[in-house]
């Protein structure tokens, strides 16, 4: 992918995502890239960022070199401010205490719907995937940042199965379905940063990473992408950002 000798695709995702988080926000983060990105943001520009894990952890203390292996085990709770029941931590999303949900998926479509349940027909799937977990809840109840590797088989016109609802069928269909808050905000890939058109809710390229062409993004996307009129180019990961990432994940569990 974007491995250019300086950083891996995963490192690029983590750095680019981290820059989208603001100080003082509360972020519901999955393990892996989301957690790393949130931790990086805390170190770089958002010291007052609060991280939540689906297992029930509020404001844990991430120690360099001791990244939790998943979001439901005791390692996630290390020196946390609070642990809650898993139902109650998800209800924080519904009550509105969370600013950003941060996750990935196996497939995403032009309206930001995510699939992590079935490849193929749900009644006769090629692959039964592990399923939604809290993904559907997070996507239904808050603004979403999605971090994914940019591949044609992942960026599809219509996902095989809507596990986590994005803008559903576009336009105002998400709100009409009953999801009156939240929705996909940004999609961060190893090629670009994408948003969504205000009206149609179709995915739109907002910025390209250094050295990536619009053509490259099109080639790796199975649907017609919109492009902003003034596409920006992102600043490459700095040495500081990469150093912090590698300090936190010295074994390259997530940034390989």
């Amino acid at each position: 992918m974007t491995e250019n000798g300086r950083h891996s695709a995963s490192e690029l995702l983590a750095v680019m995502s981290s820059r989208l988080l603001d100080d003082g926000q509360t972020v519901f983060a999955g393990v892996g890239i989301p957690l790393l990105a949130a931790t990086l943001a805390q170190r770089m520009h958002a010291p007052g960022l609060t991280i939540l894990f689906e297992g029930g952890t509020l404001g844990p203390f991430i120690t360099p070199g001791e990244l939790p292996p998943s979001t439901n085990e005791q390692r996630c709770t290390r020196r946390a401010n609070m642990v809650l029941s898993s139902t109650d931590v998800l209800l924080l999303l519904q009550r509105g205490y969370v600013d950003i949900g941060f996750m990935g998926g196996a497939q995403i479509d032009q309206y930001g719907n995510l699939n992590s349940s079935f490849i193929g027909d749900a009644d006769d799937p090629t692959i039964r995937l592990p399923g939604t977990g809290g993904g559907n809840d997070i996507a239904s109840l808050t603004r979403l940042i999605v971090a994914m590797i940019h591949e044609k088989r992942r960026f599809v016109e219509t996902v095989d199965f809507v596990t986590s609802t994005g803008f559903w069928r576009g336009g105002s269909s998400r709100v009409e379905a009953g999801l009156i808050t939240g929705g996909p905000a940004k999609v961060v890939t190893d090629l670009a940063i994408l948003g969504f058109d205000q009206e149609t809710k179709r995915m739109k390229v907002e910025a390209l990473h250094t050295g990536v062409s619009a053509e490259q993004v099109r080639e790796n996307t199975a649907f017609d992408l919109l492009f902003d009129t003034d596409i920006e180019t992102t600043k490459p990961p700095t040495d500081d950002e990469l150093a912090v990432l590698r300090e936190f994940d010295p074994d390259r569990l997530y940034i390989a």
């Binding site: 898993s86 139902t87 209800l91 519904q94 749900a122 939604t132 559907n136």
Partner: protein, 317 residues
Amino acid sequence: MTKSYIDLRSATEMRDRSLRDKVMSLGEAAALIADRDHVALGGCTLSRTPMAMVWALIRAGKKELSISRSITSTEGDLLYGSGASRHILTSWFSQGIVWGVSKVMRHYTENKLARFEEWSHMAIGLRYRAGAMGVPFMPVRTMMGSDVGGRIDETHEMDCPFTGDRLLLVPALNPDVALIHVQRCDAYGNAQMDGLPFMDIDIAMAANKVIMTTERIVSNDQIRREPDRTKIPFITVDAVVEVPYGCAPHECYGVYEPFLPNLDYYAELTRSDPVAGVKEYLERFVHGPKNWNAYLTLLGMENVIDATVRGRSVYND
């Protein structure tokens, strides 16, 4: 699917809810579970899994159990592979992210040998909570518009009479039996829990029968000294079983972390041939040992000590 309130109340009324000694063996507790029961499992993924009771019910040859859990890991594979269950209701089902998608889950579901009924994590939690509260449903603002919601027949949408908002109503889930594992519990069933509580409290309150396994049984005096630390009251509990390392190879907060070598071994064993792999694991680790301590012996002293050192480390500050 939602139990009638009258039936729920009658069933609860008939339970012996008095303060009495409920200590028994794993085998005796397994006998409280009937074929075709809906059995809810406490904990989440690799945490506080009531593994010893799952192990005991597989050994007891239970059949056609309907299972529910917030997130399902290897215990789900074992329930499918042993034939104890062909229906698991959960939000996420695989051993754990680091081991990839479960080949056993894939084999059984893709070949339609078993059902994986998918609900969102919060919806499952609120189904238990409605059951715990004695109401037939909870309103939620999730699952709408998704195919997760679309594949489920058991929900209703309504327009809120107060705000006009569209809401999804998820039905109460009152399991026949709940299996819960805790760090400490007295002989009557008053349970203390450290760390992440997951959905265990709601599950226990919702169920019609609770089997509590515990790392250790403490005195009722010790419980009464700090009544604000009791998380599940004795009135909901029907059996208490003392099982040290009762979650192995999964973890119990503050006591032991997962037994990673066994989990790696299991993942490897089921990777190429899920059916033969899970059978071999069941033979060796579930049916083979003569009791739970013999099972721990198979896991190995070194692994027990290592898991314990890591488990306790959460308190090393």
